[in-house]
Each structure stands twice: as C-alpha cells, then as structure tokens.
Amino acid sequence: MDLTLFVWRQKNAQDKGKLERYEAKHVSPDQSFLEMLDEVNEDLIKKGVDPIAFDHDCREGICGMCSQVINGRPHGPQEETTVCQLHMRQFKDGETIYIEPWRARAFPIHKDLIVDREALEKIQQSGGYVSCHTGGIPDGNALPIGKIEADYSMDAAACIGCGACVASCPNSSAMLFTGAKVSQFAVLPQGKIEAKRRVQAMTEEAQSCGFGNCTNHYECEAACPKGINVKFIAKMNREYIKSLI
C-alpha cells in the first residue's frame, strides 16, 4: 500500500521544527511501523536528505525506548501496543499519517521524534527504590508475601517507562508513571517501611520537573502500551494523604 506521511522534523532543541511531507510506497501490511520508517529513511539517505531520527531499541515492546505520537495518539491506534509492535495492517492504502514526538514541557525535543525523558529518571531517583544493601539479606522465603499483593505489585511494575501517559495527558501529568512505582512498593512489606518518604519525594520531584497534575481524564490508561490501570493514581493519592498524618 501507499501512504502519505507528515513527520515532525526539528534539527535540534533550539530549532522551531515543522511537519514535512513524505511518501511511503509499496508498504507491506506485515511490516511493523518502524520497519516502514526504516525504508522511508533508506530512500531519504539515497536522496541525500537527513533521515528521520527516532528512538527505538528492543523492537519487542518492552524497553520503552520508542516514543511517537501517531495521528494524535501516543503509540498509535492499536490498544496496548508500542510503536515498535504496531503493524501496518492497522492502516489503509492511501491513508495520511501524522507522526509527532511526545509533547510535554518536561520532555524537550532533542531532534525530530527524539525527546529528552530525563525528568522520568529524576522521579525514580528521588525515591523509586527500597533502600536495601547488596548482600546480607535473609532467605527469599523468610518474607512471605500474599499472592494477591504480589500480583498487584506486578501489575504496577509492568510499566515500561516510555512516557506515553505524559504525552497523552492534557496536563502532561506523570502521575500514572509515578503512581505505578509508588504502588508497586506500597503493597509489599519490604516497601512499606519507606512508603511515606517515597510518595512525598516522588510527587514533589514530579512537580518540580514540570509535570502537571491529574484531573481524571484517564487518557494515560488508554494510551499505556502495558495497560497500567489508573487505580494506581488513586492508590498514590491515598498513600500521599496517609503520609501526611
């Protein structure tokens, strides 16, 4: 099939940037979206045009590197699917596709579709851990954890840190991302000890990085390639209130 692409091109952080039009010809429906872009890039190189820069790595939907807004939706039209796992059969011959980077004040653009997600790192560094040492740890089975708590924790821990939640939110809020990490630890006995300090530090850091607040649009859950539930935002809010008492 043949497609028309409008792709965000921006030379660097200082550049203003604009949408450029490209034609993608003879696209196979079995190609992934990124393989389609690879081929467009091959053509551009042959023409001496700077190819489109985009983040990607594992191409199996787990590393969280890929980050494109396709036709206004982070990671594109397919539910619970990263860009790298999106296949061209989701599109129709002759369709026009708009491709843009994550857009949020906390994610400045490096080049084209590549953004700086260091703000997410800062949130994690502010408290997204259990302060245990390497070694000197009792046996793993010395600390039984109920299956329900373990599964709940795993549901939250499945976050791949891509930032689609931020890109989809009208407030550019990182509360789904932060809430998932807070919740993962808050239900586990080894994480409870630092729960108060953690939730305060992480929410404070998110705010100072320039992320907005949650006003219950639930766009984040809809965009999340791992289907992280908004209940973790509620859990984080409860943990936050608890921490003030």
């Binding site: 196979s28 190609q31 969280g64 260091e118 502010s126 299956k147 599964d151």
Partner: protein
C-alpha cells in the same frame, strides 16, 4: 601462550570462600578516591555499578540508551535459575553446577561455574529485598517453574517479564546510589575506545550521542558489561543497538577475545516477513511441548497448511529423532528447520519457515487448555503475523539470540589487560559452548552483585588512585582516533546505506557461519567479509555531521566493527575442528547427526589476540581441567 585463569585450587566447594578471604580489601576511607567506569547498565552493569557505588567507590556508569533501565536484559522472558531447592525435588549447588557444565558441552571453567551456582541463591534473596514481584503461591512463598536442560524446578519468574523486573530491581538500586552521589550516570554515551597507558586500562573514550561530542573519561578500573554480539548475523533477537563495538575496541587495545564461534540459535522465533526486518521476536520454547514441527514433503509447495493432506506432510523432527521428537534440543531443532528450508521445503514468505502445528493437541485436550497454557504467546503471535494459531499452524524459524563467547577473563573477571574487567554476556566464562535457559540472568546478576565488588578491590589495592587522568597524551590520541574514524565515515559519501551493508554482512554470516559450519563455508566467509569490509570503506553513505545527533553515524560505526569481528568469528570456527554446543561443524558429527566433541585436541578456551588489521591473530589457549565432573558425551537419546 598458555593462559592461566588463576582459579583457586583445592576443594571446589570452598574455592570461592577461600578466594574471597585471600583478596585484598580497600579501606573504606580510601574507596572514594578510586574512580570506576562501568560501561553498560544491564543486569551485570546495573547491579555492579549499584553495588560498587554503595561500597563507596566513585562510580561513573555509561549506556547508549536514554535510560539505564532500557538495556536489553529487559527483554528476557522466562526466568532466573537458583539452587534453592524450594520444591524439595533434589536440587543443590552441585546439581546446578553440573547441569551448567554439561549444558555448556564441557567447554566452561569449573571454578567459575561453581561460584555462579553458589551465589545463585543470594541473587533471589537480593531481588526479593528490592521489591521484585516474583511469582508466589497462595501461601506467600516463591513459586518455581521448570526449564530446559534440568530435571528440577529451579526457575524463579515474574510472569513473562522476569528480565524486566530483575533489571528494574538493579535499576532501582542504581537510582538509590545516584541519589546519594555514589554513582554518576552518563546516558546516551557510546564507548568508542579503551584507553590503555603502559599496558594498563586507564579510561575510555565515548561519543555523546546527543551533541556528537567526543569525551574522555579516566578511571582506576574500567568494567565492560556491554552484552553480546549476535547482531553480526543481522537477523537476531537482540535489540537494534546491541553491538560488539565496546568489546571489539578493547580487543583492538590488547584484550583477548575468547571462543567467538560459540553462538546460540534459538529454534522458535517468528520468521522474518521481509528483507527490511532484522529484529526477530522469540516465542517461548515451551510451545514445543504441544506443537508438532512439519513442512511440506513436496519442494516449492505454496499451498496453505490446511490444504496439504496428512500424507504430504513431513514431521521431520519425529522422523529424524524418534525418541526426542519435537522436544529435540535447541541446536538439533534449529539445524533441522534450516535443512528443510534449504531443501526448498520451507513455508511462508521467502520460504524461511516451518510449521508448528497445535491441531493434534487441540483435538486431544481442547482449545481452552491450549489457551490456558500458551494464551499470551498465541496473542503475541497474532499481533505480529495477523494469524490465528488456534486455526492454522504457527510459522517459526530459528534466530541467533545469545553469544557464549566474549572477552577472555580470569577468575576475577579481569581480562588480560590489567584494570579491564568484563561482566555478563560480554565475557566468555561460564556458559561454555551452549547456555541453558534462565542462566543468562543468573550470570549477569551474580557478576554484578556478588563477584565484581570483591574482585575489583583485589586489583585496586595494586594501583594508586587517579594516577593517570584524561590530560594524559593517550587520551588525546584516543579522541583523535575516534574523531578521525567518524570523519572518515562521513567523508566517503558512497552509494550504499549502512543498513545495506548490515544486511549483506548478515547474509554471509548467517548462511556460512550460522547453524551449520563447514570448512568450505568458513573459507568462503573469510574471502567475502574482507571484500565487503573494503567495499564498506569505499562506498558507504553516511549523511549529516559528527557534531549532532546522528543515528546513521552510530550504525555505520557499529557495522564497521562487526565487519572486522566477523572475520575473527569465522576464523575461530574454522580452527575449532570439532562440534560442541552451539558450534556445529558438519565434518564432525555422528552418523545420526549429533555433535562430536574432540576432547583430546580441543578441550581448551581459544583466546585470540589482535595483532593489527589484515594480520594473523595470535591464538592463546587456556586448557580446561575437569576435576569435579566426568567428561561425557552429551547424549540426547
């Protein structure tokens, strides 16, 4: 030269404990004076950087991704082995040690494997303490599953995302150190050279992938945890950015590269849909419990699976290996699939695939049971191929996914270049010629949490902290070399893109040095690769400049290194006149197609010394001694 792994002698059960006691310690007050560079932040690098930072060393950690959390360890699905014996099924450190040595086809060092088995139990405890949400049963205790190559259930898992959860555990420990100032992170940096002063590793040269700036970093020790090299085959399950570059730059500065020919091909991956695709997705091996492998008997048969009558199907694994059938080991199953396709009896686009058919099992136990067992895999398959595997057979094909070979290291994980340490998949030490499932995660975390924190101290006590810094002439020279290479790549302005060279190189390597290797195919590789390398340096087209974010330049640099390394891989395969594990020489097989080892002549690790491009590599041998296991034929009957 005969290499010495410096393994402790005496009873193996106490070897690591005795060695640890004998290693010198760095005084806590002195630790912060030592700067350690960690390259790579996967399981080995992330765990190592966090642990060293916690001890008080000044750790600088580098990765090419935008976050330490994205290293390719994250993609491991199945699980991590440990000798806990929680299920009470007879596991022990000795059994894990024995299974790993045997699984590696008796080509690994005993002492290293023993240590790995010993510390495996500490890893699980460590991860639990970090909040890794391992699977648990209703009693609240940890759950185990079975895995290949073992008769006990020793694999711990976190749904199908074990690698992700373990990496996030190491990443959280790393973040804690970043917060306290123990570790400084340098993301989006690619190591492009090792700086060696007077024979000792003193630092690295990296390219800042955002600004293009070439930076020098000095360190009292340099640790590489930079993963494997199977992207040399183009087709692989590795991430797109995985490369041999860091290891290869070290090799060119004198570090020996050991057993490069030991590569593992996984039999059940989703086939390539066209030339444009290099990344292949793995499907869990467990599918072969209920699926039957077949391809059409007729050559060039393009009918749909359902239109091919039973009598015209070749259930080739059941035919060739009646006792093991569809559960034949990885290497056998992979080679058999390739033979069918080479014989023009493959299926799907390009004829590079075979069927994995669940119809019989669905008929026997019902679709619901199959869905219960493999539902998530069938869903993933459908997402990628748009085919419903409950209604028609899956198409699968083998793909490279792990390299057992790597930089040579001694028992302390130090290479032959003093001050250069190598961890995880990047070194050669514990998997021999074949790695067992769920052992890669174990090795990465063992090296990072429980080996390097001890062994690096033993080395650091022999050097003065900060003796050579980045104002030394060698750093300047290294920067100039790196800048020179980039300039050269950008200046060629030829006709072929880096991706085209990547594909051509992969085709040569996959066809000739892939699942089956012969003297003729290896000699052809040794003719073709240098030719392609020459063409590359005449005809590659790299757009843009070196002073900006330039992904084409990054790729071109990685391919340039692969084009040198590929030749060594083929040389090693040609020299090893035996078949063992993932290395299969067609000349050395039994009548029924099994690998035939030659313990008399090849019971050694082959460590190659780079002597200059287009010059012969020098082979150094480390003899392998087996005092605690009996060298036996690895029979699959």
């Amino acid at each position: 030269m005969i290499l010495d792994g410096k393994c402790p002698t005496g009873p193996i059960e106490t070897s690591w404990d005795r060695h640890r006691f004998n290693l010198k310690l760095v005084n806590p007050a002195n630790k912060r004076k030592y700067k350690i560079l960690m390259v790579g932040t996967g399981l080995a690098g992330g765990a190592g950087a966090a642990s060293l930072g916690e001890l008080g060393y000044d750790v600088h950690a580098f990765c090419y991704q935008d976050s330490a959390r994205r290293a390719h360890s994250i993609a491991a699905q199945g699980g991590i082995n440990a000798a806990k014996n929680y299920p009470n099924d007879g596991d022990s450190i000795y059994r894990l040690f024995y299974d790993t040595i045997k699984g590696g086809d008796f080509r690994a060092r005993e002492a290293d494997v023993w240590r790995l088995a010993q510390v495996s139990n500490n890893i699980i405890d460590q991860c639990v303490a970090q909040g890794v949400p391992f699977a648990r049963d209703y009693s609240g205790y940890l759950d185990n599953r079975s895995f290949g190559g073992a008769q006990v259930s020793r694999t711990f898992y976190a749904r199908g995302q074990t690698g992700q959860q373990l990496l996030l555990g190491a990443y959280s420990a790393l973040n804690r150190q970043v917060k306290t100032g123990g570790v400084k992170l340098f993301p989006r940096r690619e190591m492009l050279d090792l700086v060696v002063v007077d024979g000792i590793a003193r630092g690295i040269t990296v390219r800042n992938l955002i600004t293009g700036e070439v930076e020098s970093h000095w360190g009292d020790a340099v640790i590489l945890a930079t993963g494997g090299y199977v992207n040399v085959f183009y087709l692989s399950t590795n991430a797109m950015g995985c490369s041999v570059t860091a290891a290869w730059k070290a090799a060119k500065k004198g570090a020996f590269f050991a057993n490069p020919c030991y590569t593992q091909i996984h039999p059940t991956c989703i086939p390539q849909s066209g030339d444009h695709q290099s990344k292949l997705t793995l499907m869990s091996e467990s599918l072969r419990n209920d699926g039957r492998c077949w391809s059409p008997k007729k050559q060039g048969d393009t009918r749909k699976a359902g239109e091919i009558p039973e009598g015209e199907r070749d259930y080739y694994l059941e035919r060739k290996y009646p006792s093991f059938g569809n559960l034949a080991p990885r290497d056998i199953a992979s080679r058999a699939a390739k033979e069918q396709c080479d014989d023009n009896r493959g299926v799907g686009p390009g004829g590079r695939g075979v069927f994995l058919d669940f119809a019989d099992s669905i008929g026997r136990v019902g679709e619901d049971t199959i869905r219960e067992r493999y539902g998530n895999l069938f869903d993933m398959y459908e997402k990628i191929t748009d085919e419903n595997a409950y209604k028609q057979p899956m198409r699968i094909y083998p793909a490279p996914h792990y390299s057992m070979g790597g930089l040579w290291v001694d028992y302390n994980c130090m290479s032959n270049v003093p001050g250069l340490f190598v961890l995880g998949e990047a070194n050669f030490s514990v998997h021999g010629a074949n790695r067992l499932g769920a052992s890669a995660l174990m090795q990465g975390l063992a090296d990072g949490y429980f080996v390097i924190p001890y062994t690096v101290a033993g080395y650091l006590t022999t050097v003065k902290p900060g003796q050579y810094k980045d104002d030394h002439a060698e750093f300047k020279k290294s920067r100039e070399d790196v800048e020179g290479t980039a300039k050269k790549l950008l200046g060629i302005n030829g006709k072929k893109t880096p991706a085209e060279f990547n594909r051509e190189m992969g085709k040569i390597m996959w066809n000739n040095v892939g699942m089956a290797r012969s003297e003729a195919s290896l000699k052809e590789t040794l003719r073709e690769i240098p030719k392609l390398r020459e063409e590359f340096w005449q005809n590659v087209k790299v757009t843009g400049s070196g002073k900006e974010l330039n992904q084409q330049l990054e790729n071109a640099g990685r391919i340039a290194d692969f084009l040198e390394f590929a030749e060594l891989l083929a040389k090693d395969a040609l020299h090893r006149e035996e078949s063992c594990g993932g290395h299969f020489r067609v000349e050395h097989q039994t009548d029924d197609g099994e690998a035939m080892r030659d313990d008399e002549n090849f019971c050694y690790a082959a460590a190659w010394e780079f002597k200059g491009l287009n010059k012969e590599y020098e082979l150094h041998k480390e003899p392998l001694k087996f005092d605690n296991v009996h060298l036996a034929v690895r029979s699959y009957k």
